[in-house]
């Protein structure tokens, strides 16, 4: 069996998984059904902040079909949900980490906080019974805005977090920054709100928990991005169970965007309860529940300043951000506005001094955590809005001011703790300029003006840091988990290969991309490669998928395991060919004695490994199955230029995206079609944030005002243009694939490019600043205010 065109790295191989997805044969958590299964329903708080005086479940327990009802008081011996990253504040003290109960204990702290788990024969019976639970609430004042929460007199949400503060943390050399500002020729200042978003994966969260009394073990099916982490946190930190007794399976998962990384109270309560009722329990959130209880994203309030010299060189940046943590610390909440945010503030620029201070506060809102991009879109928005405004202030062209500040020597150590290994920012900027026909923009603007429309163009030359690593450095910064990945390559006797990866695919196409790597490296047909993921019972270990890490980290682990396969294969082939191991070459799926035509096909070697009749048993174990753990030495640094062109109807405030060009550098690319798809999706979410999406809580009552698609505007197909995407390649220098990651870039670059375009268009009518989302109403109001 030789290499096929289909398997080669760099080919747009059709996604293997799409057959089952497109024909309705996907197996999602809600498709998993067991005999004697019960249904769970979570009674949620209708109040943003209230003391629970009492809970009376007597009537509900007597309702038809009810099997059991559990409240926080029943969960004895169950700990709270852990936070995976300890931030140490500027005062040297650890962050305030109030308890995050699995079910509410004495108090509810946001609308949607889970109060009781009702288990019944059917989902309807569980929901009907939940309405009979009598909770006596003492309603307390609520605060939803992250800045308001820090003001004196704000309602106190946790006893363990005085003043609702989680931490104040800082990065950078403040003295150097202050000195640079003092001698600056110009200072650009901006106040920025990074709007709160609700993730909206197409598949809402779901879980099926079951208990097997034969061996006292549990199985949890859950819509998760990282089943091993879910199991580790749930067993070791919350339930006190051995990992050997809990199997977590994340089957087909319909999108995550970060929201399914975390350990949530729902599935934890269900695992615990499955033993109590000794029956499987299924719960699938409806869309309203998803809006209320999925971890949200973004929600920063920032003041940022950029100091420039007379030539437009960036001298220093000063940033203060208040970040909303929500009511409780979700699994990785604390590291998003710190480690994944402040470290990105250098962008693509040589700004020599940067200081960023972040205060994180608790509010009476759903927990906030990583959402596609996680800290990096917020950082890019700050840097690129500053760059845009600085260009406007100084009269330097948008591309020129960026060029004057580009990093061109690599490796480059930024003043905010990262070392970029490689990049070519001029290349992506030049290409994007061509793609967007920037030269033709003035003519298009003039033509639009004749029609009464305002045209604008905006840039984002973004940097991203993917594949969070290495573990020891992250540990020193407060990470409570490792950041490696695990890959196992099992060659079957007749040469077919099963890959077990700790990465998890919930839309990314790993079953195809990883199979292409294997097919290319082993010279076998892609059809003979199966990728297994998402099951702690089958995959040795894994940290899962987040932060655009799967290829750079998970893919590399597979490559390392493949290297071990080839190394062992050479030993076997040397024996079969009666040659020295050092003379064996592996190429095109064949082990060959160098300089001869004597060879053994890959499948002949694998068969020998499993039928070791003619085999060096005295020196070599039979079998061909290798595992590798890979801990990267550095982040990867995808980068690129996004250029957006908008046309605004000043009469209605409608912003139309007329062109969006993205030239990205993701390092080496395995499957260009999948990469383009990832970019399209990311850009669409970026446009969603910039123009449409906004999570709004009522300031007084704390009720979620955007609790459905009637009020939360998701981007639709006709909200986005036909994207113009391309790539340039500088291979990552520290992983064998030379890959950097592409999953989040679109969502990172797009909001800044979009809003810079909107600001450029509105400059003509005197609008100084407008926050996201640039909805028609908001744009119209900004124009009215500027004219007034």
């Amino acid at each position: 069996m030789g290499a096929t065109e289909q398997g080669v790295i760099g080919q747009s191989v059709r996604r293997k998984e799409d057959v089952r997805f497109l024909t309705g044969a996907g197996q999602y958590t809600d498709d998993v059904t067991f005999a004697h299964q019960t249904c769970g329903y979570f009674l949620r708080s209708p109040h943003a902040h209230a003391r629970i005086r009492s809970i009376d479940t007597a009537k509900a327990k007597a309702a038809p079909g009810v099997v059991a009802i559990f409240t926080g008081a029943d969960l004895t011996g169950v700990n709270g949900l852990p936070c995976g990253w300890l931030i140490t504040g500027t005062d040297g003290k650890p962050m305030n980490e109030p308890p995050h109960p699995v079910l509410a204990q004495g108090k509810v702290r946001y609308v949607g906080d889970q109060v009781a788990l009702v288990i019944a024969e059917t989902a309807h019976q569980a929901r009907d019974a939940a309405e009979l639970i009598d909770v006596d609430y003492e309603v307390l004042p609520a605060v939803v805005n992250c800045v308001d929460a820090l003001k004196s007199g704000a309602p106190q949400i946790h006893d363990q977090a005085p003043g609702n503060k989680c931490y104040t943390w800082a990065l950078g050399d403040k003295a150097a920054v202050d000195a640079a500002f003092a001698k600056a020729a110009h200072v650009t200042k901006l106040d920025i709100v990074n709007n709160r978003l609700i993730p909206n994966a197409i598949e809402p969260r779901a879980a099926v928990a079951s208990y097997n009394r034969a061996d006292d073990s549990y199985t949890l099916y859950v819509a998760s991005q990282n089943p091993h982490v879910e199991r580790l946190l749930m067993t070791a930190f919350v339930l006190g169970l051995p990992e050997t007794k809990v199997r977590v399976i994340a089957p087909d998962v319909g999108g995550g965007f970060g929201s399914k990384i975390y350990l949530y109270g729902e599935e934890t309560a269900m695992v615990w309860a499955s033993k109590k009722v000794n029956r499987p329990i299924k719960w699938a959130a409806d869309r309203s529940e998803a809006f209320l209880s999925d971890a949200h994203g973004r929600d920063h309030v920032t003041h940022a300043e950029l100091a420039l010299d007379k030539d437009g060189k960036f001298l220093a940046m000063r940033v203060h951000t208040t970040a909303n943590m929500g009511a409780y610390l979700s699994t990785f909440a604390s590291c998003i506005p710190t480690i994944l945010y402040a470290t990105l503030l250098a962008g693509q620029y040589t700004t020599p001094a940067i200081f960023c201070e972040v205060t994180a506060s608790f509010t009476n809102t759903a927990p906030v955590d990583a959402y596609r991009g996680a800290g990096r879109p917020e950082a890019t928005f700050v840097v690129e809005r500053l760059a845009h405004q600085a260009a406007v202030d100084t009269g330097i062209a948008q591309d020129e001011i960026r060029r004057r500040n580009f990093i061109r020597k690599f490796p480059y150590a930024t003043p905010v703790a990262l070392t970029y290994d490689t990049g070519n920012y001029d290349a992506t900027l030049d290409e994007a300029n061509k793609m967007a026909d920037v030269a033709g923009f003035p003519a298009r603007k003039a033509e639009a003006a004749k029609r009464g429309k305002l045209r604008g163009i905006g840039y984002a030359t973004y940097i991203e840091a993917c594949g969070l690593a290495p573990s020891n450095v992250a540990g020193a910064l407060g990470a409570r988990a490792g950041l490696f990945e695990c890959g196992q390559v099992r060659v079957n006797p007749t040469g077919g290969v099963t890959i077990f990866t700790g990465s998890h695919s919930h839309g990314q196409g790993h079953e195809t991309t990883f199979a292409q790597i294997v097919a290319s490296k082993l010279g076998i047909d892609i059809a003979n490669v199966e990728v297994v993921h998402g099951d702690t019972g089958r995959v040795a270990f894994g940290m899962g998928t987040y932060g655009s890490r799967s290829l750079a980290v998970g893919g590399t682990a597979i490559v390392k395991a493949l290297d071990k396969i080839v190394a062992k294969g050479k030993k076997i082939a040397a024996h079969l060919l009666e040659a020295a191991e050092s003379d064996i070459e592996f190429k095109d799926g064949k082990f060959t004695v160098a300089g001869t035509d004597r060879s053994k096909a890959f499948a002949e070697v694998s068969l020998a490994a499993y039928v070791p009749h003619n085999y060096p048993l005295d020196k070599l174990e039979p079998g061909l199955d290798e595992t590798a753990f890979y801990d990267p030495t550095n982040f990867t640094y995808p980068a690129g230029t996004h250029i957006c062109e908008v046309e605004i109807d000043p009469e209605t405030g409608v912003v139309k995206v007329v062109n969006f060009s993205a030239c990205d550098d993701f390092g080496n690319i395995i499957n260009p079609m999948i990469v383009a798809g990832q970019v399209h999706g990311g850009l669409t979410q970026g446009i969603g944030q910039a123009l449409l999406e906004s999570c709004v809580y009522d300031a007084d009552s704390g009720q979620l005002l955007t609790g459905s698609y009637m009020d939360y505007a998701m981007p639709r197909a006709d909200d986005v243009p036909s994207f113009n995407v391309s790539t340039k390649v500088t291979p990552c220098t520290h992983n064998p694939l030379g890959a950097k990651g592409c999953g989040e870039a679109g969502a990172i670059g797009a909001p800044a490019a979009m809003m810079n375009a909107v600001h450029d268009a509105l400059l003509a009518v005197g609008v100084k600043g407008i926050d996201m989302p640039a909805s028609p109403h908001r744009v119209w109001q900004a124009i009215q205010s500027a004219r007034a």
Binding site: Y709, M710, P776, W780
Partner: protein, 263 residues
């Protein structure tokens, strides 16, 4: 959704009898009612399905009017050659309601009976001065729409058809609310035998006629005349998606666009 009884009526008389007998609600296309039931916001004990009632179907030209059966789906109105020829503004409006799924299920009668403050059909009925025919009487559009989700229909009264007088000119312009894509503001303008009529949906608690706009357009049926009308913001809706002032402004903008589109 709570448990409920579902009855299927085969005739208008049977439907009326079932409604009286059960005290339930009539089920037309279900695009608002069933969604509200799923959220447990509407809790009818019984539904009487009208989809098999023959008296509620069909689109026909009757003299100077187009008469459309109450159970006619939006997609049928959008595709109807009769409607396209006589009142193209009405078929265009139907084509712009909701999405494909909604248009294949939702009905004219259901939309009017529900009288959602941001629905499109009430604007057409009021703008064209339609007559709403029920199993008991004929109701003029000016008398039919009473307020938010309120109509002149009595309990158990069933809309059978709607008679739309053919206008000289008409058009509907809608500005979608970004999330729901219901009308943030929708304006239906018509030059009818009885004069210029302008109906506004989305902007206030219910569909209503804009006297100021009608007077201006009666003098000069032009986009400029419409744009020059300053609509009073007081009393208009104000929410996350638009202030009263924005909605007032949009009424003029959309009226102008509708006039321009009316040919």
């Amino acid at each position: 959704m709570y448990a409920f009884e579902l009855h299927k009526a085969e005739s208008l008389a049977k439907a009326a009898a079932l409604l009286a007998q059960t005290g339930g609600k009539a089920l037309a296309g279900g695009q608002s009612l069933v969604a509200a039931m799923k959220l447990r916001l509407a809790v009818p004990g019984a539904l009487v399905d009208l989809s098999a009632v023959p008296e509620l179907k069909g689109i026909r030209k009757e003299g100077d009017a187009v008469v459309i059966g109450a159970m006619t789906r939006h997609a049928e109105v959008a595709a109807s050659d009769v409607v396209k020829a006589a009142i193209p503004a009405l078929s265009a409006l139907a084509e712009g309601i909701g999405d494909r799924q909604v248009r294949n299920m939702g009905t004219l009668g259901g939309s009017l009976a529900n009288n959602d403050p941001a629905a499109d059909y009430p604007a057409a009925a009021l703008g064209l001065g339609a007559t709403i025919n029920t199993n008991k009487r004929k109701i003029g559009a000016d008398e039919f729409f009473k307020g938010m989700y309120e109509t002149a229909l009595a309990d158990g009264e069933i809309i059978t058809s709607v008679s739309f007088p053919v206008p000289k000119k008409a058009a509907y312009a809608k500005f979608p609310q970004p999330a729901s894509r219901f009308a943030l503001v929708g304006v239906f303008v018509a030059q009818t035998a009885a004069g210029v009529r302008v109906a506004v949906t989305g902007a206030a608690s219910a569909v209503h006629r804009s006297q100021a706009m009608e007077q201006a357009l009666a003098k000069s049926f032009t986009a400029d005349a419409a744009k020059a009308v300053k609509i009073e913001a007081k009393g208009l809706n104000s929410d996350l998606h638009g202030s009263a002032a924005y909605r007032a402004h949009l009424v003029s903008v959309l009226a102008a666009r509708a006039v321009a589109a009316s040919g």
